[in-house]
Subunit: 339 residues, 2 copies
DNA sequence: GTAACACCGGAAATCGATTTCCTGATTTTC
DNA sequence: GAAAATCAGGAAATCGATTTCCGGTGTTAC
């Protein structure tokens, strides 16, 4: 790759066009009163030199940088990706760029990155992470902060998350709707908030329908296929047969599906299965393909970005916890009568 | 979240400390000759106001921003993640931040982001993407560019990629080493460079061992488990039985493993299997767990970042294609005599 | 023919941090 | 005690783009 000379400045353009630096700025930004001929001449000169206004200088004057920071604790994992996409959707329109910082769960590193972002005078900050559990607040900052797919411990912060309870409720309602009555819940570690919330959603929905979720039908372990297989094995071994399973993740659901199939249990004929996350790789490779809860992370990102942009433009940011509803995506694993 | 007042400047600190702005700068940066008492006084004042130097102003003077851009065509997918981690490892030390831009494979969007990055006067740019196939060069730019995990069509650009041929060679050698002789290659679409390179690596290694890779043992389809299952089914139906399979991805390998197991073929007893990518989710959930090729993406990111930093500091960037060797990770799927 | 006015475009200030230059003040040296 | 050297810190220029203010030219009106 050949290197070009240093980037040209307004002065270079001014010289070439035979005008002053101020005039260049006016010509290129459609401000001031200039003859059409002059404007054209400047534009041609700018084009010729490949001139591009230095955003730093602009930012210094304007007092804003059109840059936001994203602080994540999740090495850009699978959940952060769709979120980032949503954020970019909303920011891109205003040509706001994102500085990505991955603290990898280390509070020290996070503080360092925060200082870095503030030094760069970002217009706002997103905080996100892999875990849904409440995290310490960054505290009061000179710029607006939105916690997306992540909750701040401080209720004065604005946290936007998807609704685990409602999502699990959707899954459960669906199982009830296809005629299932003895529902089990197989999920991740009990210490994870997501696990508990999704259990709550499942349980509440069952209670509302006059059914229950007895402890024997709650199996908590890890977020892995291997645990899904073990849990399914346990369920098969118990006296009472279940006919529907709400899984805490698609990975778990797939493990359950594999184990049931290999044990000769028909899914969805005998047992209906619902996953959580709508992770394409799992959902599509599973046999049968998984009905699952879609957490709408992209939409969450868009919403978070819109709220942040609004606050950057001087609007009210708001505070508290905002819950975004999940959707249900229907596939074969849950529907005994076919999709 | 409560909002703090606008960020304090050197002048605010200067006023509080009863000195001039220039003195504040000197005191905080350890430059100039100041009495220790004065230096201390300024530091206290800065601390009190929570002063943090505006990087924009600094960048304007220094002529560099300590910011690099990452242009990706891969919505921050699974391959970009470990790469980014490696990049951050190397950049973090120099407190260089990354502006992440996702063109989503759209050339128009890419041009827009490139203009944005140049306007922000980034010190350098990484270009990366999901596909290994050669991509158009960004052309000569005022800043150094490294194509990482992605090849530029222009040999004057510096492209750093992992070595598909060598990686597949490793896999094949390993199969030979455990006594396999009739090797098949199951992989993704033929139009993908990766598919062809990995085939080449497999074939070359076989030829070097006096064996061959007949067309009947090359099955190209998609990068999915489902294709892996289909391909395994095809292999089972053919007259001649294979005893080793090099798979173009872990997803494919897992599909193959599932199909073989369900057909009653013992893996690794009768057939040895090697995947590619070392994608934890696939590798660990597979039964048996997959021996696979590790493309060392994190290391690739570190190397790319070091090369870029060196060029930013005025060193030579270099050009051409740099191939980074892959490693082999041994697990059960390939070893008939146990690991 | 002169006053009033619109019209162009340049000079200079601005943003915030840094750095060079320079001026007093203090100390050292013979 | 005078000259020289050292020290401390302020004033101003600098980076690049923008914007305000203002002066000069050309045009219109009476």
């Amino acid at each position: 790759m050949s290197r070009l000379a240093a980037a040209p400045t307004v002065h270079d353009v001014a010289q070439l066009a035979g005008v002053s630096a101020g005039t260049v700025s006016k010509a290129l930004n459609g401000r001031g009163q200039l003859r059409e001929e002059t404007r054209k001449r400047v534009q041609v000169a700018a084009e010729q030199l490949g001139f591009r206004a230095n955003r730093l200088a602009k930012g210094l004057i304007e007092g804003r940088t059109y840059t936001v920071g994203v602080l994540t604790s999740d090495s850009f994992g699978r959940f952060t990706m769709p979120l980032m996409n949503g954020i970019e959707d909303s920011l891109g329109a205003g040509s706001v760029s994102t500085l990505l910082c991955d603290s990898r769960g280390d509070p020290l590193r996070e503080r360092h990155y925060l200082a870095e972002l503030l030094g760069r005078r970002v217009d706002g900050i997103f905080v996100t992470g892999r875990r849904a559990d409440p995290r310490p607040s960054l505290g009061p900052l000179p710029v607006p902060v939105v916690y997306a797919m992540s909750r701040s411990e401080d209720p004065l912060d604005l946290s936007i998350v998807y609704d685990d309870v409602q999502g699990a409720g959707l899954a459960t309602s669906h199982l009830l709707a296809v005629g299932r009555k003895r529902i089990a819940y197989v999920s991740g570690p009990a210490r994870h908030l997501s696990t508990r919330l999704r259990q709550e959603g499942t349980e509440r929905t069952l209670l509302a329908a006059g059914l229950s979720l007895p402890p024997a039908r709650v199996l908590l372990g890890e977020w892995s296929e291997s645990w899904g297989r073990s849990a399914a094995h346990l369920l098969l071994g118990s006296a009472e047969r279940v006919d529907g399973i709400v899984c805490g993740s698609d990975q778990i659901a797939r493990g359950v599906a594999d184990e049931l199939r290999e044990a000769g249990v028909d899914v969805p004929g005998e047992v209906s299965l619902v996953g959580f996350d709508n992770w394409d790789v799992m959902v599509e490779a599973s046999r049968p393909q998984l009905t699952t809860v879609e957490p709408n992370l992209k939409k969450l990102g868009q919403l978070a970005a819109n709220r942040l942009l609004h606050a950057i433009d001087g609007g009210e940011l708001g505070s508290g916890l905002v819950l975004l509803p999940c959707d249900l995506v229907l596939r074969q694993s849950s529907m005994p009568s076919g999709p």
